[in-house]
Symmetry: C2
Subunit: 527 residues, 2 copies
């Protein structure tokens, strides 16, 4: 196992670069104490070294043959797995997240990179389409036209506070950008700089081992208002990936709007993930349902993008029994350490506001340390919920709102009133089929993922996953940030008309040397 | 043949609606005379009737079974073909475009709709992906997850001045939005209202014949600054398609930035379509080359998005011979009537500016009528071109710039200096292969379509076409506005996790009743 000595500095195109700005330290949220080392912050000139290097790396990195490209992704995965214990130790200190959760997150991160290696080998993402020449066509012959998707260019990725691995340095945005052939300039989140540095070093080793241009990857520490904004407006940057708060995401969207040349900004922001418990499901028994809800709402101290923040429960005896079971579980629960003092502070503020707008159904007890507030579940009538915008706001952390409805026929209109969401959940039995059928078309317009008889936390990494959705859950509903479709965020199509075979790039050559699937005259051909 | 009586009014969800605003009349650019009838302009309240109707039509229209959906598209095509002569007569009067060009454009418009009918039947655009359940997987079982693409919602389409049919009422934007399942609110271009009304009536007949919700289509006349802006910022509208000038497109992009909920704006704007004549090609003979250039540059009075506006020609005897042949042809050419007085005025202004920045290589003679200015070709050295931003600006119409280079090794850097383009063209022989190979990677970053030994005008409608490109040629390089891939602009993915088969929409049912191609556990399966 390689051991990473933390330098407290950025990595720009393979070099350790001491920033000129004021250093900062991570805080252990379990104790409130600062962690060594201090991290220097780069300035805007130093940032431009990273973006210029990424631009210089683009021509060679974006045209790697599939096997070399996939092997690089697998090496990044291997390098991360090799320092797993080191990552977990540091990440636990920086985030307060428990070791089992972090162990899973490392596996998810390296697994995701290996999935993208498979995507690169399969070649479907290259979007190859061939319209063969028709020299005999009248009145005009048709020329040979071939299309493929190419990488957009260097991508800026912003690390998330709540996933120090899977949505950070080598997380889904970086993995999908790398898979598309885009160099990455990664701006680390200030709450876990040590974890970021360890993973950045792992990526840097893989870049070197494969003899790639060092500009393929940089990981930088710097102030958001200067370096973060400059990263988004840098002419070399061609797309932005972000996971975080609504205000943070919208600040990047606004910054990008000031660019001379517009670029896509993929910001995954906020979601309350409504859950509709239909009458049949609640009649089927409430204990398992309540236990599933509480586990999903409180896990990782509720700090998950897909945490169930709104749960619609029917009135009546069974609904009351469900609420009572939830109350017992919440009352018995104590707070878990939150990711950072500022996140804990924002949570307390959000809960204090909600206390004034809804009833407290149950409150647990404070956990150990200063940043482990007592989990809480509020309740409100559907009418009150529909009338009060405050009750639609996300509270990031272990808080959730139970909304009591009278009849299931009220639910489609209630769903219509919701903002855009990452997920929407139905609990149902066969008896609820007609009502579910009325609700699903509304949920399709509101959410990126619809699930049945489960809870929205736990986002499977696969080909069919959508982790995205209408605004404000993301800034661009046309995509996903988890799963293999995420690669499409960093691609654009190019057509080649009447080019000699010898000048065509490999994916569109008639000989198809990379064996990519193709759409030939509108028909799918697998190699 | 149905004969359309022109009413001079908008069609809102199947009803003829007289606008409250000041009427306007189309102008015959051949004579400068006004054409009957006057067209009333709607106000913003009337606009909201159209967008509300589109929102109301969305649930049923977006879920049509493929055969009904495709049959509707084919009916629109048939209804247009049935009034072809009427369309051509009115469009010729409103645009000055010659009948053969308009005949081709009608065929292109109905052919495009039929292509999208085929796209709807094939089902590939539904993007179905299935990750099958793995109940035995450890440590956690995998749930069944299915993904498909759904329609975004009502789409606003702005008609183009230069394609009264193929990029207007029932043009590529409308056809691809309809194919995606999106209702369309079409804002007609004020230069050809009668053509727009005839085609709108054809669409309206098809909507009625198929008993669709009338909100599927509205065609409105109204002022850009009020009604056009309100259309882009209307909460019901979920995407915008536009073809026109850079200033017009950027005004819509800016308007959309003020929305609370951001939406994609697909604006196809400006391009000078560089053509690189390499030394081998010019050594091969100049007459055919010069004739091809002049035909492409002057056709449709140069008013095509893909008109060759910059042509790079080597210095030396053969290059001089090429220029001399171009000079002969241009000097002999006379102006063709431009689309409108304002377009002719903007052309004259652009040419007057260019006269001060480059040498006039050749100027033809004025054509008949007030709006048929003399075509012109300028020339400049490569150094002068690289140093002068004014020479990079598009002049919409029959003007083009020949740029003389010394050695082919200068071309990659020259291409790097260009703005984003719809197309880039190479003229080459086998002798030019090495130089072309150095140039193509730069052109891939600059353009949406690269073509060899042809001219960029004439955009084939097919599966492999890309009519799009980096800014400022479009506002979103990830797409195309021509060809079957254009449908993807109006779709977003939704995942279904663990839903009972009976509640799944048809495209993602395991039984696959619509026979759509699917990606099952990452492997392509055709039905």
């Amino acid at each position: 196992m390689t051991s990473t000595e933390l330098t407290g500095h950025s990595v720009i195109a393979g070099r350790t670069v001491a920033g000129t700005g004021k250093p900062f330290q991570a805080i252990d949220p379990a104790s409130g104490e600062s962690l060594e080392p201090a991290y220097s912050q780069i300035d805007v000139d130093q940032l431009h070294e990273a973006t210029a290097a990424a631009a210089a790396a683009f021509p060679s990195f974006s045209t790697l043959p599939p096997e070399k490209h996939a092997a690089f992704l697998e090496s990044v995965a291997d390098e991360i797995d090799a320092v797993r214990d080191e990552i977990i130790e540091r990440a636990a200190a920086e985030t307060g997240l428990p070791a089992p959760r972090l162990t899973g997150e490392v596996a998810r991160t390296s697994g995701q990179l290996r999935m993208f290696a498979g995507v690169v080998r399969s070649g479907l993402f290259r979007g190859v389409r061939v319209d063969l020449a028709q020299p005999e066509r009248s009145p005009m012959p048709r020329l040979d036209i071939r299309q493929r998707k190419v990488a957009l260019g260097p991508v800026a990725v912003f690390g998330a506070s709540n996933f120090p691995l899977a949505f950070s340095t080598a997380g889904g945005d970086t993995a999908s950008a790398f898979a598309a052939g885009c160099p990455v300039v990664f701006k680390a989140h200030s709450s876990h700089p040590g974890t970021s540095e360890i993973v950045a070093a792992a990526i840097t080793r893989a870049v070197k081992a494969h003899d790639l241009h060092p500009g393929v990857f940089s990981a930088i520490f710097g102030p958001g208002r200067t370096v973060g904004q400059s990263l988004v407006t840098d002419p070399a940057i061609q797309a932005v990936g972000f996971t975080g708060s609504r205000s943070g995401g919208m600040a990047l969207v606004a910054a990008s709007a000031s660019r001379e040349v517009p670029i896509p900004v993929y910001a995954e922001m906020s979601s309350v993930n409504p859950v509709f418990i239909l009458p049949g499901a609640i009649a089927d028994g409430v204990d398992e349902l309540a236990a599933g809800y509480v586990t999903s709402a409180l896990g990782s101290s509720g700090q998950l993008c897909t945490q169930p923040g709104n749960v619609f429960v029917p009135r009546g005896e069974q609904g009351d029994a469900f609420v009572a079971a939830v109350q017992r579980a919440i009352t018995a629960a104590s707070g878990l350490t939150m990711l950072s003092p500022s996140i804990a502070g924002a949570w307390r503020e959000g809960v204090a506001t909600r206390d004034e707008h809804a009833d407290v159904a149950a409150r647990g007890s404070e956990g150990e340390g200063p940043y482990a507030p007592a989990p809480v579940v509020h309740s409100a009538s559907l009418d009150r919920f529909l009338a009060d915008d405050v009750l639609h706001e996300e509270i990031f952390g272990a808080a959730s709102l139970i909304i009591r409805y009278d009849t299931v026929s009220e639910l489609p209109a209630a769903a219509e009133r919701l903002e855009g969401q990452l997920t929407a959940t139905l609990h149902l039995t066969d008896a609820d089929a007609a009502e579910a059928r009325a609700l699903i078309p509304v949920l399709e317009r509101k959410a990126g993922r619809i699930l049945a008889n489960g809870w929205p936390t736990g986002v499977e990494v696969g080909h069919a996953m959508v982790h995205g959705g209408p605004f404000p859950s993301t800034s661009d509903s046309r995509t996903t940030s988890v799963g293999s479709l995420a690669i499409e965020r960093f691609l654009r199509p190019v057509a080649y008309q009447n080019l000699p075979e010898a000048l065509l790039p490999e994916p569109v050559q008639e000989a198809n040397p990379w064996g990519v699937p193709r759409l030939v005259d509108g028909r799918i051909e697998t190699a």
